[in-house]
């Protein structure tokens, strides 16, 4: 390192920012170079002058002015936040309301587009128009709520008729080929059915009051049996009134078609056991069942594509007296309402 190189390093040397080797070289050079020695002394004094300049006194109003500007900034920021970010006490209820609205909308849209309602309801409305002139005409396919008023309208009549049947005793004469009278439930038969069929919730009528539609449906069936003269029409009425409610409860999202079968058998218990067995064989399930000595009803849910097979097996249990047409289509699930009637009632 020559003289010029040493001069350039003197500032760094002053700050101790040189390597040990550079330091040794500089110190060696300083011993023999008065010019560099003087330069180093002047640099040291210069730095000393700079470092001892001390602080300048700012204007006395400086803090005040700064804080005035800061307050202004803070106020603007607050106003901005208030404008674009509402306070939490408004924000939370707003968000909650939005969430509820969204949920309801999604639910309504979901229900609106569900094929179940579109496919299932029109036949019901048709049946109702055919069977009961006095039934409310304003039943719109797909609108379950509008159909519901039909239920309370029907109830008193049904119950009244049922009472009449009870008063007359169970031995109400049957018209040929029609359902037998059966108004009062038989506890023993129910218990037996419950124990024999591996469907405890559906076997006994006990759970029926839990589902309004189900209860009405079974009552309707009993009424049917009590007054056979108008059995088919009444069955249709009853179905139109109670079936949508039941469907809504039991089958919600899948497409469901209905079918009705009236089956004449010698022994109800055996028939129900058989239905239970063949439902299993055809991949179906028993959704609801109400068994009596004199007869009963059960609803079997079965795949449309296996419906034919199931009905063929049903035909082997007893005499198929009535049946509604097979539902259209190849897919989906069909709910078959089987009304079991005894041909020769057990003597009492």
């Amino acid at each position: 390192m020559d003289h010029a190189g040493i001069r350039d390093k003197l500032s760094a040397y002053l700050d101790g920012a040189v390597t040990p080797r550079e330091k040794a070289l500089i110190e060696e050079h300083l011993k023999t170079c008065p010019e560099c020695e003087t330069a180093l002394r002047d640099l040291r004094r210069t730095v000393e002058r700079l470092r001892t300049m001390g602080e300048e006194e700012p204007p006395p109003w400086l803090t005040q002015r700064i804080m005035a500007r800061i307050r202004e900034e803070a106020a603007q920021e607050k106003a901005f936040r208030r404008r674009f970010f509402p306070p939490l006490r408004w924000k939370l209820p707003l968000q909650a309301a939005a969430l509820v609205f969204l949920s309801v909308t999604v639910y309504m849209v979901y229900r609106g587009v569900s094929p179940e309602v579109k496919i299932a309801v029109p036949p019901v409305a048709e049946i109702q128009r055919e069977g009961t002139p006095q039934a409310p005409p304003a039943i719109t396919p797909g609108s379950e709520t509008e159909q519901k008023p039909a239920v309370p309208e029907k109830r008193p009549t049904e119950e009244k008729k049922q009472d009449i049947a009870s008063a007359k005793g169970r031995a109400v004469p049957r018209s040929s080929g029609e359902a037998p009278a059966a108004a009062l439930p038989s506890e023993s038969a129910r218990e037996e059915a419950a124990s024999q069929f591996a469907q405890p919730p559906a076997a006994a009528p006990a759970p029926m009051p839990e589902t309004k539609g189900g209860a009405q449906r079974v009552l309707g069936e009993q009424g049917d049996m009590a007054l056979p003269r108008d059995a088919e029409n009444r069955r249709k009425e009853e179905k139109s009134a109670s079936s949508p409610a039941m469907r809504a409860k039991a089958v919600a999202p899948t497409a469901m078609r209905d079918m009705r079968v009236v089956l004449g058998v010698n022994d109800t218990d055996t028939a129900f056991r058989e239905i239970d067995r063949i439902a299993g064989l055809s991949g179906g399930t028993i959704v609801r069942r109400s068994a009596r000595d004199e007869g009963g009803v059960c609803i079997v849910r079965v795949e449309r594509e296996r419906l034919g097979e199931f009905l063929e097996r049903v035909g082997k249990i007893g005499e198929v007296r009535k049946t509604t047409p097979l539902p259209a289509g190849e897919n989906g699930v069909v709910e078959v309402l089987i009304t079991v009637e005894t041909v020769n009632r057990p003597g009492r």
Partner: protein
């Protein structure tokens, strides 16, 4: 002892900054009071103009308030504030250099007289040259010499010899390599040494 004091200052600053973030204006006022003189001096050393320094110092604290959300505590609050001050001073210098000529000593030209020195000092409008303290006079002349430096050299010189930051810290603050900082400081000191010799006769 000094280290403990520094640690206490750092912790206190961190606490104050935390409070400021929640909108605590009193906490910010405490920081303003604490760093007001230091920032004003730094800005004044770089700008060499009292009124400009007062204005820029205000801007420094307002900018700091706005940017508090971005302050992650990776550097000391004082270092962060210093960086803002240097940047704003540089911006102001660029504006004013084209606007008017500075009351600075040229590092190459003959030294102006004392009248001019006093004229460059905003607080020397009253007292006569005889009344001025020697120390004050020297300070004014040293500032005059600093004013004669190019902005890039002023910044590093002030940060090193007034604020006493290390080469590494200055490099980090200004985005310069340490070698560049070292070289600039060396050249700036040489220039000031020459200027002071001319202004004061001897350093």
């Amino acid at each position: 002892m000094i280290r403990e004091k520094n640690r206490a200052t750092i912790d206190a600053d961190a606490e104050l900054v935390k409070s400021c973030r929640t909108g605590d204006l009193r906490a910010f006022e405490t920081l303003v009071e604490k760093y007001r003189n230091r920032m004003f001096t730094l800005v004044y050393r770089i700008l060499g103009d009292y009124d400009d320094a007062a204005e820029v110092t205000q801007d420094v604290f307002v900018a700091a308030w706005r940017a508090l959300g971005k302050f992650r505590g990776e550097a000391l609050f004082s270092t962060w504030l210093t960086r803002i001050a240097v940047n704003l001073s540089r911006n102001r210098l660029q504006q004013t250099r084209t606007r008017s000529s500075r009351e600075a000593y040229s590092l190459d030209e003959p030294i102006p007289g004392c009248e001019k020195c006093r004229h460059s000092d905003p607080r020397s409008d009253g007292p006569s040259a005889q009344e001025m303290l020697e120390r004050e006079e020297i300070r004014i002349r040293v500032q005059g010499c600093i004013n004669g430096l190019e902005p890039g050299f002023r910044e590093v010189l002030v940060l090193r010899d007034v604020e006493e930051y290390s080469y590494g810290e200055i490099g980090g603050m200004l985005g310069l390599a340490e070698g560049t900082v070292k070289s600039r400081i060396s050249r700036a000191r040489e220039a000031i040494r020459g200027c002071l010799k001319r202004v004061l006769g001897e350093i």
